[in-house]
């Protein structure tokens, strides 16, 4: 089936991903791309706790994700690919040719960021970086849960 959702969410694996998206998409695997989590067994165990046993969780570094993206896209099962920040999303897009869309599911408040949506806070620089990603042919929308309207990038940057 392939990866049904590419998502930027600073909470990584959590309820909206596993239940909100996972149930209606009938997700069989989640790929969590994060260089720090990839190096920490403790963090990986923590994230696994939130996932039912029938869903595989794959922890990958950016380099590993780039190498395995085609494999995951050819997988007959439905999968979700998660990144926690814009840096990782940019690196994946830059180093692979297969990513055509990103869902912004949660970038929360931090010093210097301003509210763009209830669940999306960005600095002006981050907004510009999202626009540059879109300029590379990546469709970017914001949508926290499947029942919400996908909001085009132009409406929140």
């Amino acid at each position: 089936m392939s990866l049904a959702l590419y998502r930027i969410d600073d909470r990584l694996i959590h309820g909206q991903v596993v239940v909100g998206w996972g149930q209606p998409l009938d997700v069989a695997f989640i790929v969590l791309v994060d260089d720090e989590v990839r190096e920490s067994e403790w963090e990986q165990d923590l994230y696994r706790m939130g996932v039912p046993p029938q869903i595989d969780v794959i922890f990958a570094s950016v380099a590993e994700a780039v190498a395995r993206l085609d494999e995951w896209e050819r997988d007959r099962r439905v999968g979700i690919l998660l990144v926690g920040d814009l840096d990782t999303a940019e690196a994946l897009v830059a180093q692979s040719n297969g990513i055509r869309r990103f869902n912004v599911g949660g970038i929360h408040h931090r010093a210097g960021r301003s509210e763009r949506l209830r669940y999306v806070y960005l600095t002006d620089d981050e907004a510009s970086r999202l626009k540059r990603l879109a300029g590379r042919g990546v469709e970017i929308t914001a949508q926290d849960v499947p029942s919400a309207r996908p909001i085009p990038l132009g409406e929140f940057t």
Binding site: D10, R11, L12, I13, H14, G15, V18, W42, L46, Y47, R48, M49, G50, V51, G106, I107, H108, H109, R110, R118, Y119
Partner: protein
């Protein structure tokens, strides 16, 4: 030993509702603090946790056994030896907890799990 504080960490307003229910049933209003993950990334939720726990020992009661509430609570407890984490919070475990707070956090956590589990049952039709 100082009395434990209970910090409920939940989605939406679940924690607030549980604190209100405990107060309504027991009259105890100083044992529990509610935190919601509403609108929080990991950093903001960690800050809310730090503020809620304060200096003393505590048990963190998390709603689900996975997700952002648990990951934040577990990361906090990893660096604080006097903090224990319980998942699957329910009203029954909190009602027991508020009357048994003069023990170590790990002991209070085990007791809360027992009390909460005993409250889950299928009743006769």
């Amino acid at each position: 030993m100082s009395e434990l504080r209970g910090v409920i960490v939940s989605h939406a307003a679940v924690a607030d509702a549980l604190v209100a229910a405990v107060a309504a049933i027991t009259g105890i209003r100083d044992a529990l603090v509610a935190i919601s993950n509403e609108g929080c990334g990991n950093d903001a939720l960690a800050e809310r946790l730090r503020d809620a726990v304060g200096a003393g020992p505590a048990v963190l009661f998390v709603d689900l056994p996975g997700g952002s509430c648990l990951t934040s609570a577990a990361r906090y407890a990893k660096h604080h030896a006097d903090v224990a984490v319980v998942t699957g919070v329910n009203l029954a475990m909190l009602l027991d907890f508020v009357f048994h707070r003069d023990v170590a956090p790990a002991d209070a956590a085990r007791r809360a799990v027992d009390a909460g589990a005993k409250a889950i049952r299928v009743t006769a039709a």
